[in-house]
């Protein structure tokens, strides 16, 4: 697999405060990788390092030559004094008006080009940001808490769209989130970050790892299984769990964890778990 971006022993401090330390990771074409971690774990900093907005204090960031990055920021505060239509915003990435209109259609907000960016709803705004990122014909799509502010179904739709786009463009996708459930279900690989890489691997492997459980507890595994059911249509027993039967859900999750770990080990061969502390 083509390596798009690689971090080698990357560390950074701000004002004497150690934010990241000894981070090693590589992103490949065609995979969806999610970085999860508690607040203040250095997720956004790692992302800014990878897109080149920040220079590492130690170590190196290596990008594939000519790599184009489509970036969807966590927030985009458009100053009230700056008039900006959606189409003009997209124009910063692409000069061809036809392609701009097509991109809006692709992300599900056709015909909104004439609207002021500031007048869009939360969901429309995130899709406009995504359209802008797609117009750069990215080899790597980077999303920082991109579904923040969407309701749960909207969030699920947004991530499904990301998966489709990955399929169409064959690009790598890097997401950052503190929302574990939906994001992890949509990922090929999860990197659990807390100043350093605690553990990484397929979602099921990571959610079973002791380092992950130490950070996030046990409850999330059940939720992960729930979303797995919704999401994975290939399963023979496709029943929906009620909100009350937690124990049953967790038992099921246990079974599925085996299934998935097995599947992914075959598909991707990187379902390993690193020890804590790197």
């Amino acid at each position: 697999m083509t390596v798009l971006v690689e971090a080698r022993q990357v560390g950074i401090s701000f004002g004497g405060q150690r934010v990241l330390e000894g981070v090693d990771l590589a992103l490949h074409a065609g995979e969806i990788v999610t970085v999860v971690g508690p607040n203040g774990s250095g997720k956004s900093t790692l992302l800014r390092l990878l897109i080149g907005a920040e220079r590492p204090g130690e170590g190196r960031i290596v990008r594939a030559p000519g790599l184009r990055i489509g970036y969807v920021p966590q927030r985009l505060a458009v100053d009230a004094t700056l008039p900006l239509t959606v189409d003009r915003f997209l124009g910063l990435a692409e000069r061809d008006a036809g392609l701009r209109a097509a991109a809006l259609e692709r992300v599900g907000i056709p015909g909104l080009g004439g609207r002021q960016l500031a007048a869009l709803s939360g969901g429309q705004f995130q899709r406009a940001l995504l359209a802008q990122a797609l117009l750069r014909r990215p080899g790597l799509l980077v999303l920082d808490e991109a579904a923040q502010g969407l309701d749960q179904p909207g969030e699920a739709r947004f991530y499904r769209l990301i998966e489709q786009i990955r399929g169409e463009l064959g690009c790598g996708v890097l997401m950052v989130s503190h929302d574990l459930h939906v994001v992890m279900a949509a990922s090929d690989r999860v990197i659990c970050l807390n100043g350093h890489v605690c553990c990484e691997g397929t979602p099921t492997v990571v959610s079973a790892a002791p380092e992950y459980r130490a950070l996030f507890g046990f409850g999330t595994q059940g939720a992960l299984a729930l979303y797995r059911h919704d999401h994975d249509h290939g399963h023979s027993h496709d029943h929906v769990h009620g909100a009350s039967d937690h124990d049953e859900a967790r038992d099921d999750a246990h079974d599925h964890a085996h299934d998935h770990a097995h599947d992914h080990a075959h598909d991707h061969a990187h379902g390993h778990v690193h020890g804590a502390g790197g």
């Binding site: 080149g52 907005a53 970036y71 920021p73 700056l82 003009r88 750069r136």
Partner: protein
């Protein structure tokens, strides 16, 4: 009679030249909330005048050098210790006071202090005009060349970085353009009112603009209108020219806001 026409015409051209450059640049000053930064840069101009007089450099060169020095110093110091507005307040007023003190040391040189503070547009020479239009054209070309990266960096620095644009370089472009504008506008509106020529037409154009380009063009247009109206008023009512232009711009801003319901 032809002499009168001549100096009025030169004044008019000078005002228009400054307005055309200040409009688009002023939009960035407004979008990026750099008004106080503009003030600090402009106030350093007085020190530049002193520098020029002491070294017999052209005034424009002295002003440009000091304005750039001030802009770079403030940019570098930003975010270190004090809040941005405190730092800029210190730099801005410190530079103004230091400039006034330094000028008082220039004995034997007749210094038209009021002219430097508020402009002396009616005394614009052909050489001044060449400087104004040359510098103004340079600013406009610089902004047009960097338009998309500048907008991107203004919108979101991370977004710019991901697209391969270095936000620091774009900030430097704006800083240099600002220093250059201070230098060429000194004769027209003076140290104290340069920022007004940047902000007021841009803010007025925000009332009706739907795109950044429309706002930039509108600011240039409204600034030109203010220069013409201000000079005309100054001629009729015998008021100081530079301040009259700024008053005209403010009147235009109020008129636009009353006439147009603000979009979005």
């Amino acid at each position: 009679m032809s002499l009168l026409d001549d100096f009025l015409l030169r004044a008019l051209l000078a005002g228009i030249g400054v307005a055309l450059a200040a409009g688009p640049l002023g939009c960035f000053v407004v979008w990026r909330r750099m008004a106080y930064f503009g003030d600090a840069t402009a106030h350093a101009a007085l020190l530049g005048v002193t520098l020029a007089l002491a070294t017999s450099l052209p005034v424009v060169a002295g002003v440009a050098v000091m304005a750039i020095a001030m802009a770079l110093t403030v940019s570098l110091a930003a975010g270190r210790s004090y809040a941005a507005d405190t730092l800029l307040g210190v730099a801005s007023h410190g530079a103004l006071a230091a400039g006034l003190v330094a000028l008082s040391f220039m004995r034997g040189v007749r210094v038209d202090l009021m002219g430097y503070l508020f402009g002396d547009i009616l005394a614009v020479t052909r050489a001044d005009l060449a400087v104004i239009f040359g510098g103004g054209a340079l600013i406009v070309v610089l902004l047009a060349w960097r338009w998309r990266p500048l907008l991107l960096a203004t919108l979101n620095e991370d977004l710019a970085a991901a697209a391969g644009v270095d936000p620091r370089r774009e900030r430097l472009v704006l800083t240099l353009a600002l220093a250059l504008l201070v230098a060429v506008a000194l004769k027209v509106v003076g140290v104290l009112l340069v920022t007004a020529m940047l902000i007021v037409p841009a803010a007025a154009a925000r009332g009706f603009a739907r795109t950044p380009e429309a706002m930039a063009a509108g600011a240039a247009g409204l600034g030109t209108l203010a220069a013409v109206a201000g000079l005309a008023g100054s001629w009729r009512l015998d008021t100081p020219a530079g301040p009259s232009i700024v008053v005209a711009a403010v009147v235009l801003l109020v008129a636009v806001n009353l006439a147009v319901r603000r979009p979005g």
